[in-house]
């Protein structure tokens, strides 16, 4: 057998093996590799978190003194407000119990750990899967109830989260502006952790910093989860709609621990 025909034979064999693996064993192969390297990925993820925290502290050291003085001033103000808040909290708690509106009672949560994020495409890998009752479409939030995205692919012991900023992601949102009026729009992922807000009528008042929440209109996510805040707003004279950037909160909160909402079944897209 000549060297050329041997190489050709080898290439065909590799091609056929890859096709077979992709067709029949892709999930098993990936799940096996993820299981083997899980401890290393856990160490790297936690290490990365600590290292970035260390770097952040190092960079912010100069501003700490000024910040500290400002915080002391603020602290005094807050102390006086505290008493008032205590009373309000008590009242609020009683009302919540009466109306049975606690979020923990609404959602059945599965605690998951992040072990990796893909460089290309806005996806995150978590360390629980089918065996723990996770299924495709389930929303994922942080402990601060900030929406991260939804489960895109489930393996036996692992799952991939499609981040809200992924190009495949679009969902209905509600914007709470300073006038407290209800504005609805469509959030569209643009990749690289960016989200764009679309189809907001021109006459609506949007401002930087307005908060964006999920709605239940399309049935993709539960109502009232925090998405982010409005960034730059773009208005055009020729268009009936305005657009805006959404600064997703998960960018700052993509921590190690996340929660999958188990008891919310999204409506299938038609």
């Amino acid at each position: 057998m000549t060297s050329k025909s041997r190489n050709l034979f080898l290439a065909i064999a590799i091609f056929l093996i890859l096709i077979t693996l992709n067709k029949f064993f892709l999930n098993e192969v990936k799940n096996t590799f993820y299981t083997i390297t899980l401890p290393i990925q856990n160490i790297l993820w936690k290490g990365g978190e600590k290292f970035s925290g260390f770097l952040q502290t190092l960079f912010e050291l100069r501003n700490l003194k000024i910040e500290n003085q400002e915080l002391l001033k603020q602290n005094q103000k807050f102390l006086s407000v505290m008493g008032e808040i205590k009373n309000l909290r008590k009242e609020n708690q009683t009302l919540k119990e009466a109306l049975n509106l606690e979020l923990e009672k609404d959602f059945e949560l599965i605690l998951v750990e992040v072990i990796g994020k893909e460089t290309d495409g806005d996806f995150v890998l978590i360390s629980k899967g089918e065996d723990e009752g996770i299924s495709e479409g389930m929303p994922v939030i942080t402990k601060e109830k900030i929406l991260i995205g939804s489960i895109e692919k489930v393996y036996k012991n692992f799952s991939r989260i499609l981040l809200l900023s992924n190009q495949k992601s679009n969902f209905d949102v509600e914007i709470q502006n300073q006038e407290s009026s209800e504005i609805y729009g469509l959030a569209q992922g643009e990749g690289d952790l960016r989200i764009r807000l679309k189809f907001i009528p021109r006459e609506e008042e949007l401002a930087k910093g307005d908060r964006v929440f999920t709605t239940v209109l399309a049935g993709i996510f539960p109502k009232g989860l925090l998405v982010g805040e409005i960034g730059e707003v773009k208005k055009s004279d020729v268009s009936a709609f305005q657009e805006a950037e959404i600064e997703p909160y998960f960018k700052r909160n993509l921590s190690e621990i996340l929660f999958v909402i188990k008891n919310f079944i999204p409506k299938k897209e038609s």
């Binding site: 892709l26 390297t37 290393i40 990796g116 460089t119 290309d120 495409g121 996806f123 890998l125 690289d192």
Partner: protein, 154 residues
């Protein structure tokens, strides 16, 4: 053979580093592509086994991403061939060649991924994020290039 095995394990570690460590150090959510950098340097400065290592590195990357097995592997293989061919025409330490060739490789890799996922030549590229990724990767590329040169001298 021992050297190749070490290189495969090293690339494997780089893939894990890219997926689990680097996201925390992202600049505007963007991280350098250290696997592509290693493949670039391997094929630029290493004569033997660069092609096989490129293919295997792509395969490992495919396992740890949502892509079908073989997509990154094939694109890395094509890039390895291109890097080898082009490095014969230019001086390897020519800074303009390094910048242009690596930027082309990064662009090709992104285009290839987009093409295999959508089966369309329509390619959406955010120039700003591409330039940041390219810039970050080039810094590491030059650092790696210098380190390898120094190591070889020793």
């Amino acid at each position: 053979m021992r050297k190749e095995l070490f290189l495969i394990l090293f690339i494997y570690f780089l893939v894990l580093l890219q997926q689990s460590f680097l996201p925390h150090l992202a600049v505007r959510g963007i991280t350098p592509n250290i696997v592509l950098i290693s493949i670039f340097l391997l094929n630029l400065l290493e004569n033997s086994s660069g092609l096989i290592l490129a293919f295997l590195a792509g395969l490992i990357l495919d396992i740890y991403s949502g892509l079908p097995l073989g997509v990154s592997a094939l694109s890395f293989l094509i890039l390895a061939v291109l890097i080898r061919k082009s490095s014969r025409l230019f001086q390897k330490s020519n800074i303009i060649y390094l910048i242009a060739m690596f930027s082309f490789c990064l662009l090709f890799y992104k285009f290839f991924l987009s093409f295999t996922q959508n089966f369309s030549f329509q390619f959406q590229l955010n120039l700003f994020t591409f330039l940041i990724e390219d810039f970050l990767s080039l810094i590491l590329l030059f650092l790696g290039f210098r380190l390898i040169k120094l190591w070889r001298k020793v």
